[in-house]
Amino acid sequence: MNETLLLARRAVREVWRLPAATLPAVFIPVFFMVVNIGQVNRIFPPSTPFLQGQHYVAFQVPVSLVFAVSSATSGLAMVTDIDIGYLDKLLAAPIRRTAIVWGRLAADLVRGIAVSTLVLIVGFLFGARVRSGVPGVVLLILLAALWGVAYAGIAMAIALKTKNVQTTNASFIIFFPLLFLTPNFVPLELLTGPLRAVARLNPVSYVITGLRDLVLYPDIHWGSLGACVLTIVLTGLVLTALSLRALNRFAE
């Protein structure tokens, strides 16, 4: 078996055996979703134009999906590997060192799919519907998971650079402004001028909008979907490159 897949299998096993490391990543976004719905459901009834006849929960599901998969879990697992000396064992083995990062990212994809499915189920229970049907559901889960993979690079880079649990954990805080400086409560057009300008520059806006269009509209909006995919690819390329560079520097 390919060494990336071998290391991914090990990482998935680790996720499965340490549910406490993943469950908060599901609980917090679901909690936010429920609280948000409770607060604004009456302000934004299904007749609100931007909801396309759905309950407000449908508008919030993509935000919760992105929130749930953007974790520092892989970075924290990397710090643990450094602490216990397992990373040294891998670095002393005759494998491509990039497989160490790719293995973690592959496990992130599996975790992302599981977490996204759970969040989507909760959204369904609260009345959300994916108007683009089964292909939309598949795309939602897959794109959300891929965003998680793309974003995981930042925590891994910080982990390899600092070798410190607290700092790596704190990297999660970076995501809060990224998540909230977006059209997460209302569409971009309804944001105030300065916030709208910031949201336009924020890559997470394009991910949320792309996913949201899959939930709200019956047909695929190729423009927003393309922007979403492009954002995920570019973010993934940049952050994965950062983590690979950090691994090379760590080894040196």
């Binding site: 590997d81 216990i84 064992k89 083995a93 005759p94």
Partner: protein, 329 residues
């Protein structure tokens, strides 16, 4: 002693240096300062020294885990700087920190290691190694439930999956109880008997004495002595009488002992003096008499054949701190 041919050498090191850049306004730090050594194939070679002497840094350079700042090193005939990936194919590594993922079972971890090293029959090799280190029954338990000794043995097994030519063991028994230490020593002997060259770092004198065919003593990044344990001790050529004294008695005691017949030399030895003499048994009474005549009453007087600690003391003027494990196995 004849110079061994290259083909006989498992490790060859010339002028090895590890330099860490100092911070802003600080000088660079040389953790290893120009080491030369050779390890022959099939040997158990010990690298003895106190904490912070440069043992682990040297091992990490030879295992390709740290870049070499200067000098040359060959492991299993492969240049470490030029082809680190090839070196990794021929070495097994068990570092001071047991690098084991606590969420995996012993079997899963070994099977993963076999697969990463592309071992032909991973299941068979895994079963063989588990039996070798006495962990067959615990193989399906997660590693977090293992004792320190079991973890160390499993770590040793993970370093052996591909039958490496050279096995690096960095302080393999530090922190182990005497029984676990004896088990690890037994494993090391067995692995070596099967033809694997072993490079072992230790701060335990007895470990070096018991296990190693040859050893080098490192202090402050420099080699201070090298040879077989017996030859190193024989080089001292003397028995050692250690006399317990107060600090203010050292100087007058040295003066009093200057006329001791058969004396080789005297060094400070912590809370007393180490007196190196040709015939210790005959000299004990004279040592006590000379001290008492000078008005000094020694607290303790012990006579011993030279130990590796005496070799270290003679080479560096200090004893190895923590050089004795809590009990000999």
């Amino acid at each position: 002693m004849s110079t061994p041919l290259d083909a006989d050498l498992a490790i060859e090191v010339r002028g090895l240096v590890k330099r860490y850049r100092g911070g802003r306004g600080q000088d660079d730090i040389d953790a290893v300062r120009g080491i030369d050594l050779v390890v022959r194939r099939g040997e158990v070679f010990g690298f003895l020294g106190p904490n912070g002497a440069g043992k682990t840094t040297t091992v990490r350079m030879l295992c390709t885990l740290l870049p070499i700042s200067d000098g040359h090193a060959k492991v299993a005939g492969v240049d470490v700087r030029r082809d680190p990936a090839e070196v990794r194919r021929h070495i097994g590594v068990a570092l001071q920190e047991v690098g084991l993922d606590p969420t995996q079972t012993g079997r899963e971890l070994l099977e993963l290691q076999c697969a990463l090293y592309r071992v032909a029959d991973p299941a068979g090799r895994c079963a063989e190694l588990l039996a070798l280190v006495g962990l067959s029954e615990a193989a399906n338990r997660t590693i977090k439930t293992y004792s320190g000794g079991m973890k160390r043995r499993l770590d040793l097994a993970t370093a052996l999956v591909h039958k490496p030519q050279v096995l690096f063991l960095d302080e393999p028994t530090t922190g182990l109880d005497p029984a676990s230490r004896a088990t690890v020593w037994e494993e090391v002997r067995r692995i070596n008997a099967a033809g694997t060259t072993i490079f072992l770092t230790t701060q335990y004198l007895e470990e070096a004495d018991q296990l190693c065919d040859r050893l080098a003593i490192i202090d402050d990044g420099r080699l201070v002595a090298a040879g077989t344990p017996d030859s190193l001790k024989a080089e001292l050529g003397s028995d050692v009488i250690t006399v317990g004294l107060r600090q203010d008695e050292h100087r007058p005691a040295r003066d009093a002992l200057a006329v001791l017949p058969g004396m080789d030399h005297v060094t400070d030895a912590g809370e007393g003096l180490a007196v190196y003499v040709r015939d210790g048994a005959a000299a004990v009474a004279d040592v006590v008499r000379l001290l008492v005549d000078a008005g000094i009453r020694p607290g303790t007087v012990t006579l011993a054949r030279p130990s590796l600690d005496d070799v270290f003391l003679a080479s560096t003027g200090r004893r190895i701190e923590g050089g004795a494990p809590e009990a000999a196995a």
